[in-house]
Symmetry: D2
Subunit: 126 residues, 4 copies
């Protein structure tokens, strides 16, 4: 490998995925394709592009432009992704946000926590 | 969220995915489900489990045990995953490794690099 | 760079540092050398070594063995690091844990949060 | 911890540090304070700020504004950091880059690789 390509590798950086997300995404009701779509969107946001188009996602995925568009719509509908719009000086800004995903994950972890506490309480009282 | 759950979050850690892998996995011939399978295996390896079973993967994925087993077999066949076996003191050790994936990614980046160099040479010679 | 070295790079992995830790470690009362010491310990723990010795740390730092030992002792004293000991089958296990660091960071973030809420309340009441 | 703070945590993201950098920075001639300075600069670059001032760094470090300025100057002098300048439409753009650091790390890994090969050759020839 040329040094130029290695530099590209080193500079390109990494996407950090919480291991708890890897463990719980199916419990949240996400498929692998949906999770990958969210990770791609996060990757674009990290690079400063807050509104990646279905075309852009499609170039990096096995999905067609239409399938990307449908998946993104479904993720918004199912409450994992939000599209925040605001006007500034006559320009419409549209930003995707994964905040709903993190809120859902927090909720799931809380429920897991409560279940475990109830279990251990039941054992003590048992 | 309870502090206990937050601590779990903080201690659980993250999986770092090279952004170049996110950009090129389709060029390598991987689907989203196959990539997620590899990421799950990497996550288990990071935690010290070098031979996660299809059952274990299946608990974290939308795939059944059989589908996980088939996908893992396919990934080995297609040259993205290797299963290294060695005997030690009469015990058989089996370790999965993603080394083949990284080698394929390196090869792809090299080819991309050469294409771009040929393009820029062609433009200079124009 | 040889492919062998690149593979080493790709396989070696990354340490993920929360950006909030980078922003608040001085508020917690940590110096750069102390933070680096904690990151080295975390890196060893990630690799499955829960009790790295001052010698091991010293090989990777500008500090001498004695200085590493002193810094680790200070970090325990100041409540950023804990050394958990337990006996199992007649063997003493000693594990370092960064749990105290995460608890301190959580506390700091909570205090920041309250300060900001009080500020915005004061502005509303103005 | 309030959900608001946790969201901040989840959204803030992580800085991924190659473990090989943690292992070899002293061999490259870097101190802990110098490495932390580089990591802070990388963190700002990740967030889209390619020219963090000594004031900004100083707010996150134990160093004064002057000490940050001196350390940044020294890192450029020692060849770990570069400051790339270019004019665009009458505006001067100044961008810090850690490319020199990665090149130095590559060089170091190459030398390590050669030393080990020579050793193993010497053993074979023994």
């Amino acid at each position: 490998m040329s040094d130029k390509m290695l530099l590209k590798w080193m500079k390109q950086g990494h996407l950090s995925i919480p291991k708890l997300l890897l463990q719980y995404y199916t419990d949240l009701g996400l498929t692998e394709v949906e999770l990958m779509t969210l990770l791609h969107i996060q990757s674009f946001i990290d690079e400063g592009d807050y509104f990646p188009t279905p075309e852009l996602l499609s170039e990096r995925m096995t999905l067609s432009k239409e399938e990307c568009s449908n998946t993104m719509g479904l993720l918004i509908k199912k409450g994992f992704l939000s599209l925040d719009k605001h006007w500034d000086n006559g320009i419409l800004y549209e930003n995707y946000s994964l905040e709903p995903l993190w809120l859902k994950l927090m909720e799931e972890l809380n429920q897991e926590d409560q279940k475990q506490q109830e279990k251990s309480n039941a054992q003590i009282e048992g």
